[in-house]
Symmetry: C2
Subunit: 699 residues, 2 copies
């Protein structure tokens, strides 16, 4: 399944990170079913030619406003007049973990609310609905002094974006983000309706939702009931959304034209060849190395006992998922044919830009080489700048957020880092003060491991390592830090934050003191990255984008940015080896896989699923594949037919789709979805959740 966690994470840490940062080159327009399109620039002609379909304005508004973004990484959609939102179980997994406690394991056992009164409020789930899009390119660019340096223009642009979002938030009360598209070629103001009272209505047990486990993850055929239902509340009552998707009577059919709306997290399709080679040879290998170490840490912690295993299960899921996803991306980059075609496209664009009559195109002449130079410069400090983004102890991140928050909010809005702008503070505080449980022994274990790893990877003389350890062993440092902090209590986090810079400066909390000590180093590293790398990538990326528009027009889609996109495609099997993979699986296939594997984990059947065999209509379709172009972050996306009806629930891509971070191949790249019929059949036949099924299918 798509690596949803990275979608959100790659967004918040973007400024400080960079391995797979900004993508800058361009290619001719997409073909076939390729494309994650913004709603303002749909490939209307191609849709008409390929499928004889012309989207009407009300249909587009329905798809836009019925779609929801899960801010902890994922997508979803309103599916009833009473505010029911359908997404994946694995998108809900983080909340399920946070709602669980010793003796109450919603991950393992699932949860089905008997009535609305039994629905459980999520500790820190924010859901967004995109209400409007407005281009602000002219204003953002207008704020730049063309004679200034890249560094100064970078600051000017960021300041203007801060002003735009603050004005919008003040004027509308809506969450307002300025989204950079086409690597700086366009800027758009996106306004979201924001929901923070979200309650769990239903989720199957993990073994039914994630049937086949890590082995079958990212493969197809599949038999996963990867769904979960939330209900959105406002003022203590279920919302009555103006737009929701009605349930299709039959669900997706073979060859049918289908649409996917959702929030793909990150693609690098327009990256330059130099950037791709860097990702292949250094960026992704480093990520995979760290993820493998983290996996080992998680399993070591889980081995301590059943309760420990329960606590860390969702993290294990996440890291296994990421390893398989990024491993697949890396395998894609290792295929010489991919880079060869990328190099050919880049050469063609450079040639066309150089020969163009448009001075904007010719201005990009040196940009590719400058991007490559910035990439090399970044590589020289990659470890120092990148490594710490992977800190696994969450309380450590909360402490850092508090220290930075009070410092940043003391500045004028437009001078702050992006994540501390006024327009982002409400969402940030919602997460910072979450009552979700944190376990000191787990945090200490993970912090000790990450400190030891830092010392091993960065070396004992690294500035961060010296400051972080302060002469102690990793184990001692972690023990002291965790024993000496009160930040496990959300009230203490709120007290410090509300107390502002003075309260933080006066704090004797061990983690706050520690983060204060690291702050100058972090600021220096981030400044170096923004001034020396990001500013170049932005300025040159903008030039390449302009050259690209000049040569090809706006016939392509921007790289994914965890903002709303629409993709189109059809239900279709595919060739594999010498045979074909069927477009659909059925409940027959689920029992076949279980029995064929002797019901050994991860192919054992959840007790309720096993017991339901004689009640279910086994002919019911369970999962299916489509040619839609998706990626991590699309998890939970609705699959919608031409009538705007709900026919399926995206939950994965096949293994051949992982190269999709860099390129789309319509012959083999497939999105994997739960069939709408399976959801109703499971609700009624396995879980006895007839009221929920009735609500879904109500006329």
């Amino acid at each position: 399944m798509p690596a949803t966690p990275s979608a959100r994470k790659s967004k918040t840490v973007r400024a400080a990170a960079a391995a797979a940062a900004l993508a800058l080159t361009s290619a001719p327009g997409a073909s076939g079913d390729e494309g994650m399109w913004t709603f303002d620039n749909l490939p209307v002609e191609r849709l008409k030619e390929s499928y004889g379909f012309a989207p009407a304005a009300p249909w587009l508004e329905l798809l836009q406003k019925a779609s929801t973004r899960f801010n902890d990484g994922g997508s979803g959609a309103f599916v009833s007049k009473d505010g029911l939102v359908l997404t994946n179980h694995h998108v809900a997994l983080g909340q399920l973990q946070k709602m669980s406690a010793p003796g109450k394991d919603f991950v393992r056992d699932g949860f089905f609310a008997a009535s609305a009164a039994d629905e459980i409020k999520c500790p820190d789930l924010e859901i967004n609905v995109l209400m409007s899009m407005q281009e602000v390119t002219a204003r953002v660019k207008g704020a730049e002094d063309p004679k200034a340096s890249d560094r100064v223009r970078n600051e000017q642009r960021k300041a203007e974006i801060s002003r735009i979002t603050k004005e919008s938030t003040d004027a509308t009360g809506l969450r307002s983000d300025v989204v950079e598209l086409y690597q700086g070629g366009e800027y758009w103001l996106y306004r979201y309706k924001k929901y923070t009272d979200v309650r769990l209505a239903a989720a199957p047990e993990l073994q039914a939702a994630f049937y086949g486990g890590d082995l079958d993850n990212f493969t197809y055929p599949r038999y996963a009931l990867d769904f979960a239902f939330f209900r959105v509340y406002e003022d203590g009552r279920p919302v009555r959304p103006a737009h929701f998707l009605r349930w299709s009577k039959d669900g997706a059919a073979d060859g049918e034209l289908v649409f996917v709306t959702g929030h793909p997290g990150h693609t690098d399709r327009l990256n330059t060849v130099a950037q791709l080679e860097d990702a292949r040879d250094a960026g992704l290998p480093l990520y995979l190395e760290i993820a493998r170490r983290r996996r080992r840490d998680y399993y070591d912690y889980a081995a301590r006992g059943a309760e420990q295993e329960r606590r860390i299960k969702e993290r294990i899921f996440g890291v296994e998922n990421a390893l398989k996803a990024v491993g697949g991306e890396h395998a894609g980059l290792l295929d010489p044919a991919l880079l060869k075609s990328k190099a050919a496209a880049e050469a063609a664009l450079r040639k066309a830009a150089a020969a163009s009559k448009d001075p904007a195109a010719r201005a990009a002449k040196g940009s590719w080489d400058k991007i490559a130079a910035a990439q090399r410069k970044f590589a020289s400090r990659r470890l120092q700048v990148s490594y710490r983004r992977y800190e696994p102890a969450r309380v450590v991140g909360l402490a850092a957020t508090i220290v930075r928050l009070v410092a940043e909010t003391a500045k004028p809005n437009e001078k702050r880092w992006e994540e501390y702008r006024d327009s982002n503070l409400e969402s940030l505080r919602f997460r910072l003060f979450s009552p979700a449980p944190l376990y000191p022994d787990m945090e200490e274990f993970l912090l000790a491991r990450s400190l030891a790893e830092s010392r091993e990877i960065l070396g004992p003389n690294d500035a961060y390592v010296k400051l972080a350890l302060g002469g102690k062993t990793p184990e001692k440092a972690a023990r002291d830090l965790i024993a000496g902090t009160k930040l496990f209590d959300p009230a203490e986090r709120r007290r410090l934050t509300d107390g502002g810079a003075a309260a933080v400066a006066a704090s004797q909390d061990a983690l706050i003191v520690w983060q204060r000590g690291l702050d100058a180093l972090y600021r220096a590293q981030r400044k170096w990255y923004e001034d020396e790398i990001e500013s170049v990538l932005n300025a040159e990326g903008d030039r390449v984008a302009k050259a690209r528009f000049a040569v090809y027009g706006k016939s392509a889609y921007p790289d994914a940015t965890f903002t709303l996109r629409l993709s189109f495609g059809k239900v279709a099997g595919y060739e594999l080896g010498t045979t074909r993979v069927a477009p659909f699986t059925t409940f027959h296939g689920l029992y076949d896989r279980a029995l064929g594997m002797g019901e050994k984990p991860p192919f054992d059947l959840a007790a309720r699923v096993k017991a339901a065999r004689t009640r279910l209509n086994l002919d019911t379709k369970v999962n299916f594949v489509t040619t839609n172009d998706i990626i991590g972050g699309n998890s939970g996306s609705p699959v919608v037919n031409a009538k705007g009806e709900y026919v399926g629930l995206i939950f994965d891509g096949n293994i051949q789709s992982l190269v999709g971070r860099y390129a789309y191949d319509g012959t083999r790249n497939r999105a994997v979805a739960v069939h709408s019929a399976a959801i109703v059949e499971a609700l009624r036949g396995i879980y006895g959740a007839n009221a929920l099924a009735d609500e879904l299918t109500a006329k």
Copy 2:
């Protein structure tokens, strides 16, 4: 599924062919579950170490004498006290085709005899049971004059083999073959009980037996009911075989030690690197090119109408099967890792042989180079010598057999070509006089195509092309030859054969006249091959085999020769991509694949299978995979457990096993079998053949 037709074919045309002829180098002993072992040289120590199993003599005798060879290419086993033999549907396919007629299509519709009286006699099916094995190496080698040339010694050896088989046939009445093993390192006299009154008892419809068609052929998971039952008669009554396999109550279980007995047709595992490179670059490409042309011819004929399609359906199956099998073998050879490991093994043997104290090992010093030289020499006439072995018009082959038979049998037995020796004549006449239908319009169509192809491939000035066409167009030549022959009538074939050389010389039959005209050329080409190529390959192969025995002992198995072998292994799934393939499929999986594919051909369900869904126990295992080392010719082999019970029916290898012609990889190479439980469940639940099921499972 294994390419059974080639098993038999490669045997009879061996002398005249050669592309993948004799294999001569050697490698260290087999490891893991590798090996197609002769019953005289089982890897007893390895079986004991790996599986704690020691085969007892009665158990071995049971497996040997319950095993049957289908002489038109395949294996089988006695499974009841009343002479029931179980094999694959695709092994029975040739006979099913020959028994069918316009309006009576056993291939399409299947056949289930209501009682023994309804069983139908096969037109030309001979079944053999191996009764004894006796080494005759000393006698064969003793007949060679060590001072004579390779050519003369080749003749001396052949003559001695003729004497041995004739003596044995005269003395015992049993079919007697001298089998060359280890590329001439050993010669064994195999004596067979021979059955020619074989009757069809039961066969499913093709769509159930070959579910998923060419697409799923050689793939796994599978859901094929690839079984057929014959009953063997003697003196008009069912035989009561002294040995038959009893039916297992539960069938094969995951991880269980299982044995496969049968008649693997042909492997090239001990070929020299020079021979493998020749096969990769020239031999297999030529075969595949001709097979693709033949496929086109067959489909063109089938397009003429439903009756034509019925007539040629089995040929289409055969050529599609061969293309997929040989294509997979070729893909295996194209993997550089394979040839690299072969080259390393060859270098190691050459080094060890050169350093050996045994003069027999040192004598092989120049053999590899001489084999390579013979291979190059053969390549210079490959097209002329190889091309015509693929003649598709069967009546043309019958005419050639008659012309050669009367000429050869006029000579002393030991001077004849192998296939015309006294010991082979009975089987040869059985096939020659078969009442199986031949259709003049189909024969004319195929002959015209092959004549046109000969002219295109060999060129208009080729000696064969000039003689064969006699100045006519291919169409005219074929029309005249088919219109002018009476050989479609088995009685005419018998009359000419019985009349001997005089009758054939006097015949005005167009095909006989034509074959007489081609005879001198054929004899010259065959003589060139035997004297210049085969004699070198035999002599040097013998030296390499001796070196191999000297260095490694008899720790390996000989290449496959369509003689009885035993392989051992276990029921086991395998890794595929990032997940695992289950060891078993169930009837659930069959319906899943059909419904998932929308029941579109070749994934539609036979009407009886579709109707049986509610009657069947869908949990019943249908197909399964084992690590046993098999190849084409093993089709129909029994899978036997340690108790000597029947637990499954080999019908295929997975796509990863096709490289098995050259090497065995236990991690991915899998034999594919029908589970014994599926056969009984299908007999009762789909076909209502309860008497047959009762006979099988009788205590």
